[in-house]
């Protein structure tokens, strides 16, 4: 589904991502792991287009070269993004927040698909409240719901469980699994919490100081690797 080759990224003069190579097969979930500040979010932003890359390529399965596309075009290729820190539109109501995602839907739907509300009942309850007034966890749910509105083929989740109550976290995991199985959704997940990652991801990639240190299927994630790259 997604193929990243020799990706290099700079913030000004500081080299943040170094020669990254990654491949995610369709319908699978890749979990990107690593300590704080190693470049996980930066990588997600590069895929989404919020940060420009210095060199390398990011290709979709249909052959589209993402690095040549603008952010809007990328989302039109079916990439949904749940950024770190939620990034909901604070002064839009919950419903309006969700409606922003309708623009790119191919079917021209004008209303919010009911299943989003089924997934996150709290959003329906708070439909007319401003996004910024929600509690942290509610905002996170809104961010996920909003990304699902565009019916993505590839979903980028940057620490999606942050701030969400345990039972809903589990539920989100289930939903993502189901979407992967039923609709062939591909997922890139950034997650620090091992149990969650282990449960829902198919493979992992560990980042350290902007480099990929290990990447394999999830069951190969050893305590040794964890100690080496995830412990302080």
């Amino acid at each position: 589904m997604l193929n990243i080759e020799q990706l290099n990224q700079f913030y000004g003069e500081s080299h943040t991502l170094w020669d990254l190579n990654l491949e995610i097969p369709k319908g699978q979930c890749l979990c990107v792991m690593g300590r704080n500040g190693v470049g996980k979010t930066t990588l997600m932003k590069c895929i989404m287009g919020e940060e420009s890359v210095k060199s390398g390529s990011i290709k979709l399965e249909d052959g589209a070269e993402l690095t040549k596309l603008s952010i809007e075009q990328r989302s039109r290729h079916g990439i949904g993004y749940v950024p770190q820190g939620r990034q909901i539109f604070p002064m839009l109501t919950v419903e309006e927040n969700l409606r922003t995602g309708l623009a790119v839907r191919k079917d021209g739907l004008k209303t919010i698909p009911e299943r989003i509300y089924e997934l996150f009942p709290v959003l329906k309850e708070m439909k007319n409240r401003r996004g910024g007034d929600l509690s942290g966890g509610q905002q996170q749910q809104l961010a996920i719901g909003r990304a699902l509105v565009i019916e993505p083929r590839l979903l980028i989740l940057d620490e999606p469980g942050e701030g969400i109550q345990p039972n809903i976290v589990a539920q989100i995991g289930e939903v993502i699994r189901r979407l992967m199985e039923e609709d062939g959704l591909t997922v890139i997940l950034v997650e620090q919490k091992l149990p969650f990652a282990r449960k829902y991801a198919d493979s992992f990639a560990i980042l350290d100081r902007g480099r990929i240190m290990a990447a394999d299927s999830m069951d190969k994630l050893s305590d040794e690797l964890i100690r080496q790259y995830l412990a302080v």
Binding site: S135, G137, E162, Q165, P166
Partner: protein, 274 residues
């Protein structure tokens, strides 16, 4: 190296973390006392007749579903939100409802926000410097100069939060997790009597969580700590007393085991398989 060993000792409270003298009167027991507090936003009751008492030196975990009112409660304590009714006392002398944010902060209540907020244009060092317990009035700030012990203190905190290398970087470019740590650092610099910590471990790895747990338990005793967190593993590792909020009032209170066995709590919050 010396510092590292010191940091790993759980039993001892570092003296730079010892609270400053605050005029709080805790002779009669609790340091924080909320009674019958309610607040509503456009008719929505976010806090509903909430009663809560935190003892001096206690470490209390507060859990509860999203939107239960945990953050709002902290807003009320720190003076950001004024409740519609109820009373909030700090010790037995200070009615927090009559005070504004800086007064409350000066009294010795420090807070870490759910969404990390740091001073983005200032460096990491400056963020800590500003947070340091000191005379925060205008003219003293103008004249303020850092002495050796101040530097030491900042260095120690920098070491704890692991941002020594980024000391001179602007806080705005930090990653999400680094900002979380910086906020914890700022909280530590204030040396408050009461720490309100909203989701301290979101976005941290397991190991970092452990470190945070140590830090918080280390603080308890001299300082009182209120932690809000959704990570049950973390809560379990530090909690002695847990309060469960639901729809703006207390649903359950007790030890972690008691609480997590409560069917109501499982239903609204934990989920069956946890």
């Amino acid at each position: 190296m010396n510092l590292m060993t010191e940091l790993t000792r759980r039993d001892r409270v570092f003296d730079f973390l010892a609270p400053t003298q605050s005029p709080v009167d805790v002779r009669h027991g609790p340091i924080l006392y909320l009674e019958g507090v309610s607040v509503s936003f456009d008719g929505f009751k976010a806090i509903n007749n909430l009663n809560l008492t935190i003892d001096d030196g206690e470490l209390r975990c507060i859990i509860g579903p999203n939107g239960a009112g945990k953050t709002t409660m902290m807003d009320i304590i720190t003076g950001k939100t004024t409740p519609d009714e109820g009373s909030v006392w700090f010790g037995s002398r200070h009615n927090l409802l009559t005070m504004n944010e800086p007064e409350i902060a000066t009294l010795g209540i420090g807070r870490k926000f759910q969404k990390p907020t740091v001073f983005e244009a200032l460096t990491v060092f400056e963020n800590l410097e500003l947070s340091m317990a000191a005379d925060k009035r205008v003219l003293p700030s103008l004249r303020s100069r850092l002495a050796g012990e101040h530097y030491d203190r900042i260095d120690e905190v920098l070491a704890i939060i692991g941002l020594k290398a980024l000391e001179t970087r602007q806080a705005g470019i930090l990653s999400h997790g680094q900002k979380q740590w910086l906020e914890i650092g700022m909280l530590l610099m204030q040396k408050p009597r009461l720490l309100l910590v909203d989701e301290p471990v979101a976005g941290m790895t397991e190991q970092e969580m452990e470190r945070t747990a140590e830090l918080l338990t280390g603080l308890a005793g001299k300082q009182s700590v209120v932690v809000v967190e959704h990570d049950m593993g973390f809560v379990r590792s530090i909690a002695r007393n847990v309060t469960v909020l639901h729809q703006g009032s207390v649903l359950a209170e007790g030890s972690m085991d008691q609480v997590s066995a409560d069917p109501e709590v499982i239903k609204v919050y934990l989920g069956e398989d946890d």
